[in-house]
């Protein structure tokens, strides 16, 4: 069992309680009040409330969730689909797993609210294949909902509100977390992102109008509907309201997940994890999962919300905070990062397929002490060839961390080239 140190907020308040996963305990803690209130409103009102709440998608891109719901076509007879993205694969991110394991009914209630708001009749929860326990938890919760007539036909006695929920296990690929890669995979095809337009709201799962939201995004919705926009906006910043589950990992004393308002200073977030291990000095922090550019100790007081992080050339992403202390070889970091993206590129677009592999080879060459000044030039040029030129944002995600490492830790790279070896004794063999 995962012990969750509850800090503040609402999502993880009852996560230490095993029973919170059952319908009776969930209802006793106020569960399904949000759905009840939503069903008393017109769907358009629900969308408007979500829009004004300003809940930003928690999957990494941070787009206004209510706005996304409003993109669903209204004047159509075609069935509409909701997809809940539980393919959490970003290295450094593990918040969705916790929500699935400890608060599955929060997610399901959020899905039901969204289904009412956009008029969806089918919802798929796509969960990465390695997440056996989350899959089990959600399957159990969905079964309980069907038994209680909280999904299926005429949900909560509301005539004509029919929604089926299907838990779908992925087969393990980072790119299936990209929303159109996910849709391809859901349809049984190779997980490769689609060209956009058309966007999923026009042509989504099985060609039907579709909205895709992250696990955590759905989990926030019941609280917004139940407790109101003003209450929700009491957490976080003007542009990034609400709390989130920051996942702190790496060189800290107590890695873990901490629910805190958006905009909490980075220093405080790391503080909840007990600070840098062994009293060592901080060297760098990746603020939002591995695809986000790295921050330096100078940025330690930045408020952890996207509008502040983007001023520093990075993003909140999924809120996966990876802490690195002074013993870290940043070239080694570049090797690990570039290996991951080389391995996970779907291989459609030229720049991403070829560029990720090339960057990885160059980084490994430098780490092994065989790098040259031309390699430094290539590490500037190749990410630039990839950025912003492909079907999906994966190439950006592969290019940005390398650009960030080169920007802030160029000395580490130069030292490898100068000394023809890795200057960090603790940096292990490739």
């Amino acid at each position: 069992m995962i012990i969750v140190p509850y800090v503040t907020g609402y999502l993880s308040e009852h996560y230490a309680d095993d029973d919170f996963r059952t319908l009776s305990a969930y209802k006793a803690k106020g569960g399904f009040e949000g759905l009840k209130k939503a069903l008393a409103m017109e769907p358009e009102e629900v969308v408007e409330i979500m829009k004004s709440a300003g809940l930003r998608g928690r999957g990494g891109a941070g787009f206004n969730a209510g706005m996304k719901w409003s993109f669903m076509p209204k004047d159509t007879d075609r069935p509409k689909v909701l997809v809940c993205n539980g393919d959490e694969s970003e290295p450094g991110s593990f918040k969705d797993r916790l929500i699935m394991e400890r608060g599955p009914l929060q997610i399901l209630e959020g899905i039901l609210i969204a289904a009412w708001a956009v008029g969806a009749s089918k919802a798929f929860i796509y969960i990465r294949g390695e997440y056996k326990e989350p899959i089990r938890c959600l399957e159990a919760a969905v079964k309980e909902l069907y038994g209680a007539r909280l999904c299926g036909e005429n949900v909560m006695g509301k005539k004509g509100f029919n929604i089926d929920i299907v838990v779908h296990s992925g087969a393990g690929a980072y790119i299936c977390g990209e929303e159109t890669g996910l849709l391809e995979s859901l349809e049984g095809k190779k997980g490769q992102p689609r060209k956009k337009p058309p966007f999923p709201a026009q042509f989504g799962a099985f060609g039907l109008p579709t909205t895709v939201n992250n696990i955590e995004t759905f989990a926030h919705a019941p609280y917004i509907l139940d407790r109101g926009v003003d209450w929700f906006r009491g957490f976080g910043t003007e542009k990034s309201p609400g709390t989130t589950l920051y996942g702190v990992s790496g060189h800290v004393e107590r890695p873990g997940l901490f629910e805190l308002p958006l905009g909490t200073p980075l220093r405080e977030v790391i503080g909840h994890a007990g600070g840098v291990r062994g009293g060592r000095r901080l060297k760098g922090v990746i603020p939002g999962g591995m695809s986000m550019p790295i921050l330096t100790p100078n940025d330690i007081d930045v408020p952890m919300a996207d509008e502040f992080l983007s001023e520093r050339g990075t993003h909140l992403g999924t809120g996966g905070v990876m802490v690195m202390d002074e013993t870290t070889c940043m070239v080694r970091v570049a090797c690990v990062v570039s290996y991951f993206f080389r391995d996970e590129s779907c291989g459609q677009c030229t720049q991403c397929r070829e560029g990720t592999g090339w960057i990885n080879k160059i980084c490994e060459r430098i780490e092994q002490g065989r790098g040259t000044q031309q390699d430094m030039k290539l590490l500037e040029d190749v990410p630039a060839m990839m950025e912003g030129q492909t079907i999906c944002a994966f190439a950006d995600a592969a290019a940005w961390p390398i650009q960030g490492l080169m920007r802030h830790f160029r000395d580490d790279f130069e030292a490898h080239i100068r000394e023809h070896k890795c200057p960090y004794p603790e940096s292990f063999e490739l």
């Binding site: 690929a173 790119i175 190779k190 060209k195 080389r342 391995d343 996970e344 590129s345 779907c346 291989g347 459609q348 677009c349 030229t350 720049q351 991403c352 397929r353 070829e354 560029g355 990720t356 592999g357 090339w358 080879k361 031309q374 290539l378 190749v382 630039a384 060839m385 990839m386 912003g388 030129q389 492909t390 079907i391």
Partner: protein
């Protein structure tokens, strides 16, 4: 229609098309508007993955792929500024990091888009020191195609072709990232009636046909327009020739007939130009007679039949051109022999290109008044026969058979006179396809022995028969003129006025 501006020049294009499609519709892609591309093919679904066709569209912050960006009225596109050039250079450099630089031993050299675009848009020297990704060499994909995996740039044209055109879907891209490889699906072979088209659409030397591979360097070849004569579809082709020899047929684009495809059977039919040809004239089984003697003998037989008012019949061939058939019709009229007949073999058809009628010009024969018949011609003194489709059975009761044919056949033994004729690739003319589209074909090679077109032989026979008005020979262009003036359906379809796309009968 909408107006778009590309590099300062305005173009009227159709709505609901992408930039590349719209420019391709105008026939200007890579002739006037240079937007290099690999994965885009005008007859396949848009893929959008090679990213080479990126252009700048005013008002949009990122570069856009021209293959998938819909045109808008007033859209301003830039295809040649520094930003676009840099992006192309990037794509070209990345495509080459895993591609062998062995053009001198690659069979695609000379018609390779990677080679061409590298010269036009690429980098001067390689910046890689890593070995190329290991890959299969000379892999057998099936009866027709060989695959050099290391040369593949993963544009997936072949994958989409197999899915969309023959709908057989044998090929796929497997694995991920820089380990992605084109492969056959397990347990399949690339063995469909259109398989060899993948070699045409492969922009590099990855897919080549077993038939053409390493036969000749392509810069020794020149391409002559022709029409395939293997069924009534009349697919437009190029015949690639060198030193009076045809090395291959390639599809020639005609959106009304065959898009950019031909079937494998049609493609391989170039071999019929040399195989099993009827090379010598003959009189009653005697093979060493001269051309002149054989024609004189045919003329004598016809003269005698006419003198004694015995029956003469004509049997045409659906392989003969409109012009040759018109000459035949005129000859039969002059002999008072009544309308000729013809027969056409039928076989399997599909809904892609292959038609049931296994000859190019059955509709031409119909339009020129020949009657389709599958019965014996009955008792006759002389039958003048354009060969290829009829059998000995038809001529059970014929005393003297005058056979004009291109290939060795069982009819030869029965014939009083045998005259070798030219095949399609050795003459000029037109065919009328299944949809009544009249299409021209040009001479590709000269026969390696003395042979004449059906029409020329018929003119000479007419002259030898002593018919008035047949003493001077008319060229195929003169005959075409007379044909189009005298038969209403062929009006405006004169050989010299037809372009390379053909036109329908009126």
């Amino acid at each position: 229609m909408v107006t778009i501006t590309i590099d300062g020049k305005e173009y009227e294009v159709a709505e609901r098309r992408t930039i590349l499609q719209a420019i391709d519709d105008l026939g200007l892609l890579m002739t006037e508007v240079d937007i290099p591309h690999y994965c885009f093919h005008p007859k396949l679904a848009v893929d959008g993955s090679c990213r080479l066709c990126q252009v700048e569209v005013e008002g949009l912050p990122k570069l856009q792929i021209a293959c998938d960006t819909p045109v808008r009225d007033g859209m301003i596109v830039k295809t040649a500024n520094q930003r676009v050039k840099d992006a192309r250079k990037g794509v070209m450099e990345l495509l080459l990091i895993n591609h062998p630089l062995d053009c001198p031993i690659c069979d695609q050299a000379g018609e390779c888009k990677l080679q061409d675009y590298s010269f036009d848009y690429g980098i001067e020297s390689a910046r890689t020191q890593e070995p190329r990704r290991p890959a299969k060499k000379n892999a057998d994909l099936g009866p027709t195609i060989v695959f050099d995996q290391e040369r593949c740039i993963l544009c997936r044209r072949c994958v989409r072709f197999c899915r969309e055109v023959p709908k057989t879907g044998e090929l796929g891209v497997f694995h991920r990232g820089d380990e992605s490889v084109l492969e056959l699906f397990p347990g399949t072979q690339l063995d469909n009636p259109y398989s060899m088209n993948v070699a045409d659409i492969c922009p590099v030397g990855a897919l080549t046909t077993k038939d053409f591979r390493f036969k000749i360097r392509v810069w020794f070849l020149d391409d002559q327009e022709s029409v395939c004569d293997q069924c009534s579809n009349g697919c437009n082709i190029y015949a690639s020739r060198s030193n009076n020899k045809v090395y291959r047929y390639l599809p020639r684009r005609n959106d009304a007939v065959n898009d950019t495809w031909i079937c494998d059977h049609g493609r391989m039919s170039y071999k019929q130009i040399l195989e099993n040809r009827l090379t010598e004239p003959g009189i009653k089984g005697q093979r060493d007679v001269g051309y002149r003697d054989a024609i004189q003998e045919a003329g004598r037989l016809i003269r005698e039949a006419r003198t004694s008012s015995r029956r003469i019949v004509g049997v045409a061939s659906p392989y003969a051109s409109n012009e040759d058939l018109f000459t035949f019709r005129k000859l039969l009229e002059a002999l008072g022999a009544g309308p000729g007949t013809f027969a056409v073999q039928r076989g399997e058809a599909d809904d892609v290109l292959i038609k049931a009628e296994k000859a190019p010009n059955a509709n031409g024969a119909r339009a020129l008044g020949f009657e389709e018949s599958y019965e014996s011609v009955g008792a006759a003194d002389v039958a003048i026969v354009l060969g290829h489709t009829t059998t000995a059975e038809y001529f059970r009761d014929v005393a003297n058979l005058i056979l004009i044919d291109t290939h060795v056949s069982s009819l030869m033994d029965q014939a009083a006179v045998v005259l070798p004729a030219r095949v399609t690739a050795e003459k000029e003319g037109t065919f009328t396809n299944h949809a009544n589209r009249v299409q021209r074909f040009l001479p590709v090679v000269e026969p390696k022995f003395e042979a004449w077109s059906d029409g020329d032989l018929l003119q000479q026979i007419a002259s030898a028969s002593g018919l008035g008005g047949w003493d001077s020979m008319y060229s195929v262009h003169e005959i075409s003129k007379e044909l189009t003036e005298s038969i209403a359906a062929f009006a405006d379809l004169q050989l010299g006025s037809l372009d390379d796309q053909g036109r329908e009968l009126s």
